[in-house]
């Protein structure tokens, strides 16, 4: 189960468990190493919030494999968002922390989910205000499609086909106490009843019985099968 369920959503499917997440990150770390053999000249910059622990883990895995670890930084893109003055409420500003000059180095941006690409656009603008890197690359744990800008990732943990009504939620031990990736979907809005409804407590208790877990999994398996069939 997810540890932070946004209102109006329910869980549809687990996409990665702890060990799968670890294997995926390990593969990504090796791919980055393959492309960037000069680890000491590479800076891994995590996009707050969950990009930061991901960048730290990738850096540790790279250090394990090559003996040298890259520099790790954190980027708070809030002040560069294109919707800052139009959507509310305001996110908490935690600040950017890039511990070295990025001039002439390779910067690998790390984020949890790549969706519209707007976060990456903001991150690129902010990075450029810190210097002139030799190259900027993008590593994401999940690419769920639906880009609104011409942006693509260089290192991808897993590519997913999703609908816009769904939500991919990455949960990391550092932030959420658990390692997993789950797919959420919008819960149907309950229909208003004509008759006065029975006490709510009783209703809630019955809910899980009506929808046994096995059925849920089967439903999602069926769903994937049909989707694969159409592609």
């Amino acid at each position: 189960m997810t540890t932070r369920m946004p209102p109006g959503f329910r869980e549809r499917q687990e996409l990665m468990d702890k060990s799968r997440l670890a294997r995926t990150l390990s593969r990504m770390a090796h791919e980055i190493l393959e492309r960037e053999p000069e680890v000491a000249r590479t800076v891994l910059v995590g996009v707050r919030t969950r990009g930061v622990p991901l960048a730290r883990r990738l850096a540790a895995l790279m250090a394990e494999a090559s003996g040298v670890g890259p520099v790790v930084g954190a980027l708070d893109i809030t002040l560069y968002r294109d919707d800052l003055t139009t959507v509310g409420p305001q996110p908490v500003i935690k600040g950017t922390d890039i511990p070295c000059s990025i001039d002439g180095r390779t910067v690998v941006l790390v984020d949890d989910v790549l969706y519209t690409g707007r976060t990456v656009r903001a991150a690129l603008d902010e990075l450029i205000d810190f210097g002139r890197p030799a190259r900027i690359e993008l590593a994401v744990l999940v690419d769920r499609g639906h880009r609104e800008l011409p942006i693509r990732a260089d290192f991808v943990g897993r590519t997913l086909t999703t609908t816009r009504q769904e939500m991919v939620q990455v949960e990391l031990a550092e932030e959420d106490g658990v390692d997993q990736v789950v797919l959420l979907e919008r819960a149907p809005v309950p229909r208003p009843r004509a008759a006065p409804s029975p006490p709510r407590v009783a209703k809630r208790r019955r809910l899980p019985k009506r929808r046994p877990k096995a059925n849920l999994k089967a439903a999602s398996r069926n769903r994937q099968r049909t989707r694969r069939g159409t592609r």
């Binding site: 002040l79 003055t85 810190f130 210097g131």
Partner: protein, 312 residues
């Protein structure tokens, strides 16, 4: 997550909840780092216009607001009333209405009369920030003091803070008493009987002896003797004031070993604070100035960035 900041104006500390104060301080702490960047500018408030309307002299507050506005990419203009139509007899409301006809998003205002920003907030559509109104409130000063205290001491709750000097005329003291008591700090006020404020005695313990006030204090806030507001002899002489109420090294020794000394500026050296103390290792007066920019950035961002959910 953010407790949010459900206000349209910042008129004072008194109406704020502790969680709102926490939000401003957290935001300011996060923004502090922007001032150390190679390019000290972020596009957060691009296309927003801020008018700084100052009816009273100010160096720190006005330049600090101006820098905060520029760092956040807001367009700002500052009006010093000495060289404006106010000299030709225009009323406050007319000046404000005319400025508003140019459609600014925010007016930052300092005025000699208590309640002037509240008056403006009732008549204008723009967000109003109080940058000091008479002897009433100076909210951003109290916020920057709190941010400095929190950085140096790691907390506000339980701290013993002595506020010493011209309490009667001080909007800084009033805002600070409200803020610090809301956040759970213990405040002691000290002033000569002629400069004590009767209203504040209800909010915090008071003493006429500075030695008693600074005893065991974690922080000492010195207030400026406001010579310009001293029509009728509140103190016999400045030299006597320094002897009875000036912060000297001797007096600092009565406080905690790791005490910090604060002053909102401008200082009267040799009157309320001895030069050795102002320049001493425990003085955080210049940190306060830097934090002032961060706090004002936070206020601008919280009032102008993000959709307004609740209006107050």
């Amino acid at each position: 997550m953010s407790a949010g900041f459900p206000h349209r104006h910042l008129l004072g500390i008194e109406p704020l909840e502790p969680s709102h104060i926490e939000t401003i301080l957290d935001t300011a702490q996060g923004l502090r780092e922007v001032l150390d960047r190679p390019i000290k500018k972020v596009p957060a408030l691009r296309g927003k216009t801020v008018v700084n309307l100052f009816y009273e002299a100010s160096t720190r507050t006005r330049s600090s607001f101006e820098i905060a506005e520029k760092v956040l990419s807001a367009d700002s203009l500052s009006i010093a009333t000495g060289t404006s139509s106010v000299q030709k007899g225009e009323t406050l409301l007319d000046t404000a209405k005319n400025l508003e006809a140019m459609n600014p998003d925010m007016i930052v205002m300092r005025h000699g009369s208590s309640g002037a920003p509240h008056f403006l907030a009732r008549h204008c559509r723009s967000a109003i920030v109080n940058a000091g109104d008479g002897a009433h409130e100076h909210p951003t000063q109290a916020l920057l003091d709190a941010l400095t205290l929190r950085q140096k001491k790691g907390r506000l709750k339980g701290l013993k803070v002595a506020i010493v000097g011209d309490i009667l005329h001080s909007r800084v003291a009033r805002s600070n008493v409200w803020l610090l008591t809301k956040m759970g700090a213990k405040v002691v006020l000290s002033a000569p009987p002629t400069l004590m404020s009767p209203g504040l005695e209800a909010l915090a313990p008071t003493t006429y002896s500075i030695d008693e006030a600074v005893e065991g204090a974690d922080a000492i806030m010195m207030l400026r003797i406001q010579l310009e507001r001293m029509g009728g002899g509140y103190v016999p002489s400045l030299r006597e004031y320094h002897r009875r109420f000036g912060l000297t090294e001797e007096r600092v020794k009565r406080a905690q070993k790791d005490v910090i000394i604060m002053h909102p500026g401008p200082m009267n050296r040799g009157v309320e604070i001895a030069s050795e103390v102002a320049d001493g290792p425990y003085s955080v007066i210049l940190d306060q100035v830097t934090n002032g920019v961060a706090v004002r950035m936070a206020v601008l961002l919280l009032l102008l960035g993000g959709a307004q959910e609740a209006q107050s």
